[in-house]
């Protein structure tokens, strides 16, 4: 109950109102959200594939990771901010939306996967940093990360095709308004 009240206050906030009424806010926020998500997936997949030894292991893992993950985090920040902004416009509907919930769940799993990798698996990196088979744990982490982020993209897309949520567009209109 309190949660719903919180969502309602989000929806009636000045920010949400501005997004709903502004001419450019929805399309641009939505485009930035997509841009961020695409950049997260693109940059993290290079790191994930390196863990899987694709295309090879000739570049040190630590170099690949340090080169790319800062961009992943930057993109994540952008995606988070724009995502929160979109959330405020229909917080309660999002909260009850199944694909949205699944997306958040998988996001959590992706975070946990990364945490476990950073805390445990990467400790032995000196042994497999370059020109060596990555350990199974690292391969699993890479594969899971790929699967999780592709799922996040799919669930995100799916939100736009569920009836409940639509930025106030007529329901018979065949347009998706969510990334």
């Amino acid at each position: 109950m309190e949660l719903m009240q919180f969502f309602q206050s989000l929806e009636s906030s000045a920010v949400a109102d501005w997004i709903r009424t502004s001419f450019y806010a929805q399309p641009l926020i939505s485009a930035l959200h997509l841009f961020g998500l695409a950049m997260i997936f693109g940059t993290i997949s290079i790191v994930d594939l390196r863990l899987l030894g694709i295309p090879n292991t000739s570049r040190p893992f630590t170099l690949v990771a340090s080169e790319l993950l800062k961009w992943t985090w930057l993109a994540f920040g952008l995606t988070l901010i724009t995502g929160l902004l979109m959330f405020t416009t229909s917080a309660a509907a999002y909260y009850q939306n199944t694909p949205f919930r699944l997306k958040m769940l998988v996001l959590l799993l992706a975070g946990l996967n990364m945490l476990i990798f950073e805390l445990l698996t990467v400790r032995s990196v000196d042994k497999w940093n370059k020109n060596a088979r990555t350990p199974t744990a690292a391969k699993i982490a890479g594969l899971l990360s790929l699967v999780f982020w592709i799922s996040i993209i799919c669930f995100g897309r799916w939100i736009g095709y569920t009836e409940r949520y639509d930025f106030g567009v007529p329901s018979d209109m065949n347009l998706d308004f969510l990334p």
């Binding site: 841009f35 695409a38 950049m39 998706d176």
Partner: protein, 184 residues
């Protein structure tokens, strides 16, 4: 209000919409979101590949030569573009009017031609004049500006892709059905 090319486009879109494949795709609910999801993942691969080449030109990364970096990422870039082409074609077949009658779609195609042209020209020049690029060109401010500009063009392609869904709102749009809805 219709100009000639709009009539042609509209009848072309209607013809596509009447084909068996289009009808099949439209009657299958998950086709559009599935195609769009793969499309977006492909956009991620394209942008990340371009980012890596751009960062090398900006000397943010330097353990590999420009040629090595470009050889490393252009296969991903063109491979992902092939995926984008196929999924994009699938989306056009499914919802031809939504795509072909939107201003954003045609701006996207224009930017796509420009963006691909720059990348192709860059690749050709780089492989032909490897030493000139590695020893001089890559340090030129103009080349760096060009690299950033190219990345911006590709971001513009993503933006236009997203704007297809907001076409009427943004450009006034060609799709009458949507226009009448927006007026409600």
């Amino acid at each position: 209000m219709y100009r000639g090319w709009e009539v042609t486009l509209r009848s072309f879109a209607e013809w596509i919409a009447g084909t068996g494949l289009s009808v099949l795709f439209r009657s299958t609910e998950w086709v559009v979101p599935a195609l769009q999801s793969i499309h977006l993942a492909g956009v991620g691969v394209v942008l990340a590949s371009l980012l890596m080449i751009t960062l090398r030109i900006l000397r943010q990364t330097h353990d590999q030569s420009l040629v090595a970096t470009t050889r490393r990422f252009t296969p991903w870039l063109w491979g992902a573009l092939a995926v984008l082409f196929v999924t994009g074609l699938g989306l056009i077949v499914t919802e031809p009017e939504r795509e072909l009658l939107s201003t954003s779609f045609w701006l996207k195609m224009l930017l796509l031609v420009i963006g691909s042209g720059i990348v192709l020209a860059f690749q050709r020049s780089l492989y032909r004049h490897e030493r000139r690029w590695e020893e001089g060109l890559v340090r030129h401010g103009r080349v760096k500006a060009m690299a950033v500009g190219t990345f911006a063009v590709w971001c513009g392609i993503l933006l236009m892709g997203r704007l297809i869904a907001f076409d009427t709102q943004f450009w006034g749009g060609l799709t009458q059905q949507v226009a009448s809805h927006a007026a409600n």
